[in-house]
Symmetry: C2
Subunit: 284 residues, 2 copies
């Protein structure tokens, strides 16, 4: 496995693979790799001859007062995990290598970034789309892999790729969960043992939504109330949002129709946790 | 010569050239081709085996009240000129093909777009950078060619390419001028015969700047006054701006130092005309 710290080095490695006619897959990460990332890498491995993992804690997607400084960093074990899972090259650039002395250019996606997490993390998605545009241009992959856990991110990136005619495919992979149902996330490291148990209520609230929809309830207000009730079982969970939106436009709904995204963001101890499921109500 | 109306068609043509190992050059235009464009095409021809010319009057770079509707369109003669100059494929998409039903994604460059024309055409450069990002992603060229006449555009695009790590080179070609000194432009078509003579004052004012710098004057205020005086010889010329800025940062200067950009924008009859020169004062 190669490790490239510079744009030039990763381009040279990927360029050689491309000249060999290999299909290039990119898994963009912020490191602190876990089973969710491993699942993305395995999926990439199955459809691509050459797999690139980028590890870059992107400062421009963190807001003031967010967890940039304490975000978990574990490059050595990340590299070992990549090596073990058959990654071809890890691109782990410095902030300076990625942004130089002054970045003036931003990629923004309107509307979709105003919903859900966008309301609570101004500038977050601008940082995500900008760094992804950069990574896509650096690596020139045929396909990039993202997790459904960050549903809004995946939708925003797909839209950017489509609107800007970027010549790559975006594949969204299912959320990986712990036995309790808790979505695997680098930020779970912030949780104490008891908080980790409480955090399982997030997925429980999403399952509640699915149950209600499947049993015929279509009033969004009633479903959200029931979801909030589930989350309320923990006195430590502070709800940021619980929403049911159209799974494509992310627009709010009054009635559940077609494919909807049920999504929640909560604060628990030092962590901000998000999770979601897509429910197909089958009523168009 | 091929003519492609769809993204798929131009990609297929360019992809074949790429597989033959050819260097791909892109000349992005809004049509109404003239000697300036021909010079870009000739330069492309000299360094590229495969030359793509895009012809697209990009609505997102026109502001409200600007000349989108009456912008000169002459596809048939444009195609003949391209054919004659050895272009390999013309990409002439519809607005729908380029933007679909709703574009949500924008590429913006800060700071550099706040100077010169950016002050008078809000949103203009956002439209330019967005459509260029799209064209670069569609064509996947090795190099794209722009004219020095649109100096700020060239600087903004170069910055976008560098900031977003776009894998292509930007080449800026010298301004082509009529015998009178008037910079060749599609918008010269808006000028009557007498206005066309008066328009030569724009370049005369720029030459005045060069003369003064070369004779040792370094006070920007004095130079701009003299330039305005030259333009004032025509009662029909309405000055939008006359500026002397740093040729890289586009920041305003009080004293001429190093490479400076002298730039003017005027209204004359139905036309808005811009022109510029770079003067190297050689004093860092």
């Amino acid at each position: 496995m190669d490790v490239a710290g510079s744009i030039e080095a990763v381009r040279s490695k990927v360029g050689a693979a491309r000249r060999r006619g290999e299909r290039i897959g990119l898994v963009p990460t912020m490191g602190a790799l876990h089973a969710g990332h491993m699942s993305l890498i395995e999926t990439a491995r199955r459809s691509c001859e050459y797999v690139v993992v980028s590890i870059f804690v992107n400062p421009t997607q963190f807001g003031a007062g967010e967890d940039l400084a304490k975000y978990p960093r574990s490059l050595e074990s990340d590299l070992a995990m990549c090596e073990e899972s058959g990654v071809d090259v890890v691109f782990a650039p410095s902030v300076e290598e990625m942004y130089g002395s002054e970045n003036l250019t931003w990629v923004t996606v309107e509307k979709l970034t105003g919903a859900l997490c966008g309301r609570f993390r101004p500038g977050h998605f601008r940082g995500v789309t900008t760094v992804c545009a950069k990574l896509f241009n650096i690596v020139w992959a045929d396909v990039a892999f993202f997790g459904q856990k960050d549903a809004q991110q995946a939708i925003v990136i797909k839209r950017m790729v489509s609107d800007l005619n970027m010549p790559l495919e975006i594949v969204v992979c299912p959320t990986v969960r712990e036995a309790s149902g808790l979505a695997v996330s680098s930020r779970n490291k912030y949780l104490g043992e008891h908080e980790r148990e409480e955090a399982a209520l997030i997925y429980e609230s999403l399952r509640k939504c699915r149950e209600m929809v499947e049993s015929g309830v279509d009033e969004v207000k009633a479903i959200i109330e029931a979801m909030r009730e589930v989350l309320g079982k923990s006195p430590d969970i502070k709800i940021e949002y619980v929403e049911i939106v159209d799974a494509e436009s992310l627009e709010r709904l009054e009635r559940v129709r077609g494919r909807v995204l049920a999504a929640a963001a909560v604060r628990l101890g030092a962590a901000r946790l998000i999770d979601n499921i897509v429910v197909d109500a089958g009523r168009e």
